[in-house]
Amino acid sequence: MKGRIFCIFVFLAVSISAFGQQKPIAFVGARIIPVVGQPIENGILLIQNGKITAVGDARTVRLSSDVQTFDLQSKTIMPGLVDSHSHIGEGAGADGSSPIQPDVRLLDSLNPRASSLQRAQSGGITTVNVMPGSGHLNSGQTLYLKLRDDAKTVEDLLIYDKAGNYAGGIKFANGTNSLRSGGGNFPGSRSKSAALVREQFVKALDYRDKIRRAGKDVSKMPARDLALETLVEVLDGKRTVHFHTHRHDDIMTVLRLQKEFGFKVVLQHVSEAWKVADEIAKARVPSSIILIDSPGGKLETVDIKFENGAALEKSGALVGFHTDDYITDSRFFLRSAGLAVRSGMSREKALYGMTMANAMMLDLQNRVGSLEVGKDADFIVLSGEPLSVYTHVLQTWVEGKKVFDRSDAKDFLTAVGGFGASSDRFIHIDCFDDDLGGQK
């Protein structure tokens, strides 16, 4: 009997929420930070069918009679946060057999039920680039996900384009993480690292030439090579390279490779960005930075600075942020922008970096990253000023559905921790894997 009542309840809940997507919803009374455009006091955000249909101040937005209204007086609304580098979802990419494995897909590894995904929702993250680690020169293909609720399969989280392809990039790394003192087929030096990567891209160029020469003649087509096929996508600008790099000389190596092969690249971590900010800006390459509580932890990050955000902003480069979760907790993602502002970055650019800049780095700027008409209804409701330590994420909405609500007991547990909050959690430490014998 109890079971039946429960079933009915679930049915009602599901039907109501499905219906809710069809009906327009208006969020009124809040301060709205659209990121693109000026903040609006006492604004209205109107959504329908998972999209934003209006954003503006209370006097200009007209509400139809069937609209469902939520009063958010004294609250702040801003776009859902975009995390351009994370390791949530318990995924793992390449194995220890070789340093370059572009054929490996995180798609075939991610656990859509991982509690870390819910934790990210509670931190206000709605879109995320989930990557394999950095213990390889290339550890495989990354996934751009929407943190929708109740995902049964990884496909439920993917972002598809009109042609039906799902979005994702590819992870590269240089510096010490992918070096192995034991030799084998892994590099032992920085020059060797670059040489191995160049070698693969040269092969990919050749592979692409063969395919082009073959034209429609199937007999002349080269044998299918999953790794080279992926690198051809990179050469064609269809798949962005997310390049883990820390030291100033390693950053310059990435820029050199980018110039040689012309791929789209995002510099990831960029710990010494402050030393080569002008060079980064000149190369017109975006940076996704991380803010950690103290310098060091490994040799390459001893010179990392809170000031990276300010230095890149000043140089005119596009700058975003990432959690690198488990390195920083997704629930404290907004704190990264707060610390960047502490060290000289403007509030506007810091909030832009949490949302729009990251969306651009994932080529999703037409769908997410700001509150503009026609974009996905991905937004968060905050208890106050976004960069205050006392502010909490109260609600997270993805495509017109509420996926996190701090007033819900289960969601609250995810947000603050406690017994059972991370029960199926697997500790994945990015950037260093003892089992593979990587160097620190």
Partner: protein, 477 residues
């Protein structure tokens, strides 16, 4: 030991000053430069003005003044009450707090580069090494010390890491000083014990289980008790015999004073028989004395209740094991980490033991999977004595900053005052130093932190740090 040291230090300073002065006399230009520098750095008298002064001894003072003289706090009060002498250097800040105290860290032992040559926080050759002194490993020039100092941290309880059953000793330092000896205010504070998953030894070695951890600790404590019992009875025997000798030979009884000297970690135990001691060669009596092994000696300081065990225990079951052991042996303990403290609040409260709780933003996973950002506020509500720590980090970041952790606690249920107390006066109390540091009160060490706004806000800066009346950081960070 501390006293001896400071005498040597003063002497060294005097010598240095004398040499400098002689050189300066030879060059008038240098003398000018010297005069300027001297007036800036060696200013012994400072007045710190704050729009808000959190004394942590009563309500915060608005428009307050703290006078510092000769390394101590001379006066605290509102600007109306306190007249600033004209020769005092005046420093102004929006918010002034006591110098922050990090109740448990590994900085100075665990270097920021994370390379083998500067990772001194854990020694893996044996699971139980209480004889390892923190002061022999502490590097006062380690970059992370300067880092936390620039956020207002003036005192740190640091030492061997929670990564072995008994990893070694801890010490309490000021975050300033040329040598470990100069930085140390308590050269030997506690012995670090770790229960649970993070101190299990692998591949057939002990301890391989939780029960084995407890058994090994119990065996060691029983050994220490036995040694103390034997030593005490030997001393009684010896005293009796000496008294007899003294009557016969007129020896000075002071030579036979075996009472421990608490201020000196190296003489906390019974002194071995000295050559002056007439019983030194007596086989029967010396065999009744405890063997002078360093490990045994350290455990005896615990069974004698001279120093506490700092027991890191995250799971509720490990917290209960710590309390069980403490009760069995009537020893002093401080619970550390305590991710699951919120599950056994009544039991912790009943035990009376204080808790140095994990950093608020600590990562959840493994034995810390059930930690809560509200742990601190729950301990507060339960009336348990507790403070906060920056904890032990093995990768990036290599250290947390206790200021940020207290801020996160303030955002998760603690009041501003209570959160600040976890890194000032409450921390001082648990470390046994509340008569010297932790609040802005007359006679206490002149340790202060200054901020340009609410110290916990992400966008506020620490504008200066003062230790022992000396401005040790002026970086705006």
């Amino acid at each position: 030991m501390i006293k001896n040291f400071s005498t040597a230090k003063t002497q060294r300073r005097r010598e240095k000053k004398r040499n400098l002065f002689m050189n300066l006399l030879k060059n008038p230009l240098r003398l000018c430069v010297f005069a300027v520098i001297f007036s800036f750095t060696a200013h012994a008298q400072i007045a710190v003005r704050g729009e808000t002064v959190w004394t942590m001894a009563g309500e915060p003072i608005s428009n307050g003044v703290v006078l510092l003289n000769k390394g101590k706090i001379e006066a605290v009060g509102s600007a109306n009450q306190i007249k600033i002498p004209s020769n005092y250097r005046v420093i102004s800040a929006k918010v002034v707090t006591p110098g922050l105290i990090d109740a448990h860290s590994v900085i100075g032992l665990a270097g920021h580069m994370n390379q083998p040559h500067e990772q001194m926080q854990i020694e893996t050759s044996s699971p139980m090494q209480p004889e390892l002194r923190a002061i022999d490993a502490y590097n006062p020039e380690e970059k992370l010390i300067e880092w936390v100092r620039s956020f207002g941290v003036t005192t740190v309880h640091t030492g061997h890491a929670p990564a072995a059953l008994v990893s070694g000793q801890t010490m309490i330092v000021k975050t300033f000083g040329k040598t470990a000896d100069e930085a140390a205010i308590v050269p030997m504070a506690m012995i670090a014990v770790t229960l649970g998953e993070s101190s299990l030894a692998g591949s057939g070695k002990s301890p391989g289980t939780r029960a084995k951890q407890a058994a090994m600790l119990r065996a060691e404590l029983i050994k220490a008790f036995e040694a103390v019992r034997k030593a005490d009875s030997a001393r009684t025997d010896r005293t009796n015999q000496n008294n007899a000798n003294n009557r016969n030979a007129g020896n000075n009884p002071a030579n036979n004073d075996n009472s421990p000297n608490v201020s000196n970690p190296n003489s906390m135990l019974n002194n071995p028989p000295t050559p002056n001691n007439q019983n030194a060669g007596n086989q029967t009596l010396t065999s009744a004395l405890p063997a002078t092994d360093l490990r045994g000696e350290m455990m005896q300081t615990v069974t004698r209740r001279r120093i506490p065990l700092l027991i890191t225990a995250h799971r509720a079951q490990d917290i209960m094991t710590a309390i069980r052991l403490a009760k069995e042996f009537n020893i002093r303990i401080i619970l550390d980490g305590a991710s699951e403290a919120h599950l056994v609040l009544d039991e912790i409260k009943a035990s009376g033991f204080p808790v140095i709780v994990h950093p608020t933003m600590y990562r959840a996973g493994g034995e810390t999977e059930n930690l809560s950002m509200e742990n601190a506020s729950k301990l507060k509500r339960a009336g348990i004595s507790f403070d906060l720590q920056s904890g032990y980090e093995t990768y990036v970041p290599k250290t947390r900053v206790v200021l940020f952790e207290a801020g996160a606690a303030a955002a998760n249920g603690l009041s501003m005052r209570d959160a600040l107390a976890t890194i000032t006066i409450d921390a001082a109390r648990i470390l046994g130093l509340d008569r010297r540091i932790g609040s802005l009160e007359k006679g206490k060490d002149a340790d202060l932190a200054m901020y340009d706004g609410d110290p916990f806000e992400y966008t506020t800066h620490c504008t200066g740090t003062i230790i022992n009346g000396q401005v040790v950081s002026e970086i705006v960070r």
